[in-house]
Amino acid sequence: MLQFSKFVAIRAFLAIFTLVLVSFIVFSLMELVPGDCAERYVAFKSSQGTVITMADIQVERVRLGLDRPYLERWGKWIFNAFQGEYGDSCILRLNISQLLGQKFWLSLGLCLSALLLAYAIAIPVGILAATSKNAFLNNSLRLVSYLGLALPNFLLALMIMLFSTVYFGDSLTGLFSKQFRDAPWSYDKVLDFLGHAWLPIFILGWSATAFAIQTVRALMSDEIGKLYVTAAEARGVSGAKLLMRYPARHALSPIVNSLGFDLNRIFNELPIVALILTLTEAGSLLIDALARSNDQQLAGAIIFMLTAAIVAINFVTDIILALTDPRVRRGIVG
């Protein structure tokens, strides 16, 4: 028990340290963008007809605390960020956490569903591929996984849109029907959402599934030839029971570990897929923030939140792995 809590403490420390490092990178990037908030606010006033001077900008800077040293401002930003408070976007002049709120959780939900879908397909198919000697099955799986790489999600989304427009006359875009877009959550809205969400989830999960099948298959093939499997077989265990109880348990534990990076891969594609499928509720805010308005506060907040979600997943999977596999905890505590 002591060993376990030590393990959790070390992992938690590492996770927080990673986040601090990420926040430093993100904050530095935000600072590098030309023009700061004070200039933007004052520029806005100027567009409203007020005559402004350099002194006004300086006053605004002092008011916003932009005259403080770099490290102090970073410290303040990260302190607030850990409490889920990212200040205001100086382009939209809105509170960022309010702006992101539901959209972020919706995006995270989409990505996690995609991840779930990927493994729900990959684990049985991967195990089957590793155990089966069927050349046709193996070759077609290989082709699918190559396509998963060669046809990245956004090209797949484009192609699906092309075909659905040509053959069904509907481009299958958006996350909600018109009448539900601003309505409060209700049973009907959830149904409507599910009716729209399956396509983005499928598209987001596409590459991840292809990769996951490859991984499961490779890990399973490694385990299946080992002596303990033969020993179990000799004791009379066979069929699915043999697979699930012996090699699959070992083969699947490294996968738990890589879930964070799979989520990373899915997040990667989210903004672009969201742009193509016009999911205004998810992801495309980042593109707006970067491509259209150069809104560094918003962009920084989004990147930080995405990374925080990945770090959190990594932390949770590490704990799960340690709970199920004592070798892992001993490995890190020493």
């Binding site: 490092l21 963008v33 092309l162 427009t165 481009s171 990373n264 990667n268 903004p271 491509a291």
Partner: protein, 397 residues
Amino acid sequence: MSVMTNQLSAEEQKLKEAYFTASQGQLIWQRFKKNKSALIGAWVLILLIFSGVFAPFLTPYDPTISGRDKEYLNGAPQIPSFCDDNGCSLRPFIYSFERTRSIKTNFRWVTTISTDLEARRYVQFFTTGVKYTYLKFEINLPGKALDFTIPGFTFDTHLFGVDKDYIHIFGTDSTGKDIYSRTLTAINTSLAVGTIGVFIAFVMALAIGGVAGYYGGLLDSVLQMITDTVKTIPSIPLFMALAAFIPDEWSAEARFLFISMVLGLIGWPTLARRVRTHLLTERNQEYILAAQLSGASAGHIIRKHLLPSFTSYIIVDLVISFPYMVLSETALSFIGLGLKDPVNSLGVMLQNVTSADVLLNYQWYFIPVFFFIALVLAFVFVGDGLRDAADPYGGHN
């Protein structure tokens, strides 16, 4: 009889000898040749690289706005044929057309093809067209006297064209630019972006992974932590954040260089990790200890002993990471943060295809996608084939 067996065994002996004295490169090539899909991939790759490099010759028109066909905006692909109702011709031809727009056609351009014998446009080979230059360098150093230009070689021959007006075998886009010419140029751009990106990522990975792996200990832990952190941040949002710094007034060429560098600067962690892992296992080998005892410096050991031990792995990793660079660039350009006109890339070409008009009426905008899937697949197949071939323990089953 016995002579024959002797001869056979002598031949076998020779083969065996060849196997044992073969260099690592020869062994890898032997194994690579046996892999059918990798070989096909290699041929496709060579073909695509060739068509990218010689794009100016293989395409009839300038891919930028100056090569536009004003008469044929959003035009469908024109497929040359040999025969029609008016008889056959040995020389393939396409039809001329008339475009009209009036209240009768709801103010949309409507193309009427004239199938007259006189209106045929015959395909010509080795036509003279827009000039292009290879190996031209302009060096602008401060001071007039230091400027110099290597003129390079200028050509104006193109593989094919038509005797009058234009031919567009993949159709044209909304400004009348030839999609075929743009596609081949885009392959060229993608290869260039990938090469620069992979090179930068490679140098950084070698430096960071090399230091971490060779020295180990605390330095290794710190560098590993930084590498892992960079890996945690989703790369495309990070690309987007970095690409958003590019001021609008930068020229298309400067953007191109910057984007390639950004791709490299973010792509290094995976490679660095591989280099590190390899060095960590190799540095405890006896031959390294021997070199250290003989008084060789760290730099000497890394360059002369450690690097040659895994050059083949590095080459494989480079080939495998190439398509990721190409795809990232495409994604970035697609959302408008990467390359911009007049530089051509797949992403630039796909920028406006999500509109319903294009999806419903102008599907030939999507032709370049297939070339890029082929390019990426070819890289993946060759990379996988090389990885299997470079693994000395993998080739026996």
